[in-house]
């Protein structure tokens, strides 16, 4: 009787140990297409960092002083004069900073393509900063459009006719921010695809 119980208990303990060993040293499933998406994600993030920092720097260094002046007034245009542009510079700097800080999480998703936690974290934060980038880019675009075309009904003159360089630089900054926005959108779409399909 006692022999039978001993054998049964030891085989049960052996079975439990086998299961534990199988769980701890589970073989990694091959990454497959999820790993490819993670690598694309990393590369796109690098591009978005360049685009957003480029937009912020281009806007911040846009400063033009016209070569003529009256006795009291010097004609100068800088991003400081428009609070929308100030918002644009700060917001783009934030977006660029976030993208730099999110690079480690992207690397984690490359190493472990089947882990859902980092991807979910990236989607949530990407969405928030995508909204911020879109908001700053669109509001700056509205001002740039006004500067190019003016508005007859409200008697707003198109200042681009006088401040050509300033206009060109701010327009370039807005375009660069739209590039960052599109890249962020692609990042969100790719992460959600990777989350949604086994």
């Amino acid at each position: 009787m006692s022999t039978i119980i001993d054998v049964a208990e030891s085989s049960k303990a052996h079975a439990i140990e086998n299961e534990k060993a199988a769980l701890i040293s589970a073989p990694q499933r091959p990454g497959g297409w999820k790993k490819g998406i993670s690598i694309m994600d990393f590369i796109l993030r690098l591009g978005a960092i360049a685009a957003s920092f480029g937009a912020a720097i281009t806007m911040a260094t846009s400063d033009q002083i016209l070569p003529f002046f009256t006795q009291f007034f010097q004609f100068e245009a800088s991003y400081d004069s428009f609070s929308t542009f100030q918002f644009f510079v700060i917001a783009m700097a934030f977006v660029g900073g976030y993208l730099v800080l999110s690079l480690p999480f992207s690397i984690v998703t490359i190493i472990r393509p089947h882990a859902n936690g980092p991807r979910l974290f990236l989607i949530i934060l990407d969405t928030v900063f995508f909204t911020l980038a879109t908001a700053s880019g669109a509001s700056a675009a509205a001002i740039v459009y006004l500067a190019h075309n003016g508005n007859q009904d409200s008697n707003w003159l198109a200042i681009c006719n006088q401040f050509g360089d300033f206009c060109a630089q701010t327009s370039g900054a807005v375009v660069s921010s739209f590039v960052a926005v599109v890249v962020l959108l692609l990042l969100i779409v790719m992460s959600s695809l990777a989350l949604g399909k086994h």
Partner: protein, 186 residues
């Protein structure tokens, strides 16, 4: 044998909890979509029906302000209308997710479309917001006059219609986050 049944029971308990969580999230999703529909529709209508004519006029010029006169406000009306139309069309999908908690391709499609709509709504409302800000404050460096001082009710209307879109944008963000949460728990 006993260990096997214990593992099966606990797995079933986890999947029951998962199903309840998905159903709860789907219900919240539906309610938030309804609120967002009301908000975007109200914004579009409030901005789209602006029309103010000042009571004085000269021989050649009649002072009148409509949302049409400013391209950014036109963009805002169009973007809000498209966003509310999309939300109405996505309600059946939301109801489908309540009935059948299928975390399949429909949720991924919904996330993608939600993000695109968030982009267009945010772009339209921030462009309109910068124009409304200019209307209130003007800009002395560029010699842009703040026309709010003359067109009072037009100004109030366009400022008030921004509120609807500023409610809808965080709702969109929460919708996307909720869908991503459900997708990540399978």
């Amino acid at each position: 044998m006993e260990k096997a049944t214990f593992v099966e029971l606990s797995e079933q308990k986890i999947s029951n909890q998962n199903g309840k969580m998905k159903r709860g999230v789907a219900v919240i999703d539906f309610i938030l979509r309804l609120i967002a529909i009301v908000a975007t529709l109200a914004s579009a209508i409030a901005m789209g029906t602006t029309d103010e004519t000042l009571p004085f006029f000269t021989q050649f010029v009649r002072f009148r302000a409509k949302y049409d006169d400013l391209p950014a406000l036109r963009l805002f009306v169009v973007a809000s209308a498209i966003a509310s139309g999309y939300l109405i069309l996505s309600l059946p999908f939301s109801i489908l997710h309540i009935i059948r908690s299928s975390a399949g391709m429909t949720r991924v499609i919904l996330i993608i479309l939600d993000t695109v709509m968030l982009a267009s709504l945010t772009a339209g409302s921030s462009a309109a917001a910068s124009i409304v800000y200019l209307a209130h404050k003007g800009n002395t460096k560029a010699n842009w006059f703040a026309f709010c001082q003359q067109y009072n009710s037009f100004c109030e209307r366009i400022s008030g219609s921004m509120i609807g879109s500023f409610i809808a944008i965080p709702l969109f963000i929460i919708l996307i986050i909720l869908s991503a949460l459900v997708l990540s728990r399978r």
